[in-house]
Each structure stands twice: as C-alpha cells, then as structure tokens.
C-alpha cells in the first residue's frame, strides 16, 4: 500500500511541475508540450541501455560450470545404481 502512495505522489509532483512550466513561459510553449513524451522515450532508452550494459558485464564462472557437470555425472551414476531412471530423452 505504501509503495503505490509513493509512486502516486511522485506522479502528482511531476505533473504539477509540468503544469507550472506551462503557466509561466520559461521554456517556449512547443517544448513544454513535448516534454512528457520526451521523458517517456528517454526512460525507455535508459532501460534498454541498462539491460545491454548488464548483459555485457554478466559474470560467467567457468570453474563452477565444470564442477556442476561433475556433480551431475555423480548424481546420475548414484541414482542409476539405486534403480531410478534418469536418462534424458
């Protein structure tokens, strides 16, 4: 419940700021109309950038992968001895 209240207050603050910008013509009018759309597009771009950067810096652990494969083999051998069928088809 509290999280949605935070988001709502943030949205109300941003729209109040935008409307005050419309009233007092600090920026030329055509810019003020386009400002929310520009922010939405830049937010989407920022999300895409974070995904790309995270993909580039994702850490792979090669030794852990080898150890995991060994564990899988041991588990398969153990279960087959006990009579459970673990073949992948």
């Amino acid at each position: 419940m509290k999280h949605i209240v935070k988001i709502m207050t943030l949205l109300v603050a941003i729209s109040a700021f935008w409307m005050s910008l419309l009233q007092t013509s600090l920026i030329p009018r055509s810019y003020t109309w386009l400002l929310p759309l520009y922010f939405i597009v830049s937010l989407g771009c920022y999300g895409l950038l974070m995904v790309g950067v995270g993909l580039m810096q994702f850490p792979t652990c090669p030794q852990e992968a080898v150890l995991l494969q060994q564990d899988i083999k041991e588990a398969k051998v153990f279960l087959e001895q006990k009579g459970i069928d673990v073949s992948s088809d």
Partner: protein
C-alpha cells in the same frame, strides 16, 4: 557463449544510445536550426517525432493486452 552475450548486450546499448541521440536532436536542437540547412534532409518532418513514439506505445499496449487475453483463454480452456 559469453562472447555472444557480450555482442548482444553491446548491440542493445548501441541501439538505445543512437535512438536517444537521434530523438534528442530531433526534438530539442532541430527547431533552432535554419530551414535551409542541409541537416534537415536527415530528419523526418517534426510531426513524426510525436507520431512514432505514440504509435509504438499504442502497438505495445495492444500486443500486451492480446497476449494476456490469449493466456487467460488458454488457461480457461484447460480447466474446462
């Protein structure tokens, strides 16, 4: 394997940075440039700067709602 991941990540960030710079140029800087400058050839008319994001947003919303509707229908069919 991680080279493919790195390439995809790099491509994604490149696309996002290029879209951001192109759009910023379009909306912020281009109205200040003279009408007969050569740079106007590389940018579409200014109405498209509004139409294309709105159209993309509406398409995304339609796609999401259709997808959710399909999932709900499929789950209802499986239960009945």
């Amino acid at each position: 394997m991680e080279l493919a991941d790195r390439a995809v990540g790099f491509l994604l960030s490149l696309i996002s940075v290029s879209i951001f710079t192109y759009y910023s140029f379009w909306v912020i800087i281009l109205p200040f440039v003279n009408s007969d400058h050569f740079i106007h050839k590389y940018f579409l008319p200014q109405e498209y700067a509004i139409l294309i994001p709105v159209f993309a947003g509406v398409t995304l919303l339609c796609f999401l709602s259709v997808f959710i509707g399909l999932v709900i229908l499929k789950s209802k069919k499986k239960k009945a």
